[in-house]
Symmetry: C3
Subunit: 136 residues, 3 copies
């Protein structure tokens, strides 16, 4: 059965969801935007900064369950203004080592919760633990 | 290869999709809204009731393949009016035992098929069957 | 750790993403629309043709990693005009053998990157390779 965790370093979700859902193979993070982050409301409106704040927290959430952004398989980016895709991309790209970019879809949502400009949903593959050695 | 099923208790999909896609590890449900449900058209416009109708049928679909809502790992909620998030959340939360909430993303879609106010897409992890006993 | 690939037959992604993310079990394709395809800009505006172009390339991407559309478990379709769902469905259905349709969700995005009318995101289960024979 999946496990569900909230990170003590982020505000508790204001909706019936968990920061992290976890099964044997994957980590599923709830969609996160700057309004979900302590102090994030102050930077709302700067899509590049919002993206950096969100990506740092997503990275932190992955770290809390033994993963890194390099384990990410799929990302969904929701923008309220698709004309800001370039600014979002520039900030987003800072968190990956080219060409190791996960699969991604970017669409437009008229509004996002909390008045954010960008929200990011991420799924990562959990690293395989080494098999116990048969000769041990 | 994945299997695809439709539930006899729901109208057949009006689009080229299946209610349920199934592989060894996960159950993938098509996005469902009240307009996809027998009698659901009559409650369109009440986002809380729509949410309850949809969640009951999603639960039923999971049950038909040996899962429950507690196996859910990820949910996507699409609302036509994000101001209705609170009413949707109240109805949605009735179907889970806090704090066991799956990862969730809620975004706005200007319209939804059939004129619904909310549509929900859900992915669940299939329970692991007990390994056959080696000494049997 | 997941692998990320771009297909030589498609233009390189214009965003920090890969055409294909791959782990042991699944293939994750980035959202693809006709503006992402050589020559696709010329057919923008015809949602049926856009759908066919996109589905052909998604099929090709799956083929490049040993999968087919029949391995697809989940599809997300994004339309800029939900009134075009019927035309999109007609084209989309050509790529599957009824009733073997993956789980699907179709929502509306006010705009899509590159001015496309439809964008499609697809996840497929990788076929299981035969187990090595224990008596070999």
């Amino acid at each position: 059965m999946p496990e569900f965790h909230n990170a003590p370093t982020l505000p508790l979700p204001t909706f019936p969801g968990s920061h992290i859902a976890l099964d044997d193979d994957y980590v599923y993070l709830s969609g996160l935007n700057a309004a979900d982050i302590h102090g994030g409301v102050e930077i709302l409106g700067d899509v590049g900064e919002e993206t950096r704040w969100v990506m740092r927290r997503l990275s932190h959430l992955l770290d809390s369950v033994g993963c890194t952004l390099a384990d990410t398989v799929r990302v969904a980016v929701h923008l309220t203004d698709l004309d800001e895709a370039e600014a979002m991309n520039a900030a987003y790209a800072e968190f990956f080592t080219p060409p190791h970019y996960p699969a991604r879809t970017c669409t437009e949502s008229p509004r996002l919760l909390g008045g954010a400009s960008v929200e990011i949903t991420l799924t990562a593959r959990r690293p395989v633990e080494p098999e116990p050695r048969g000769d041990a």
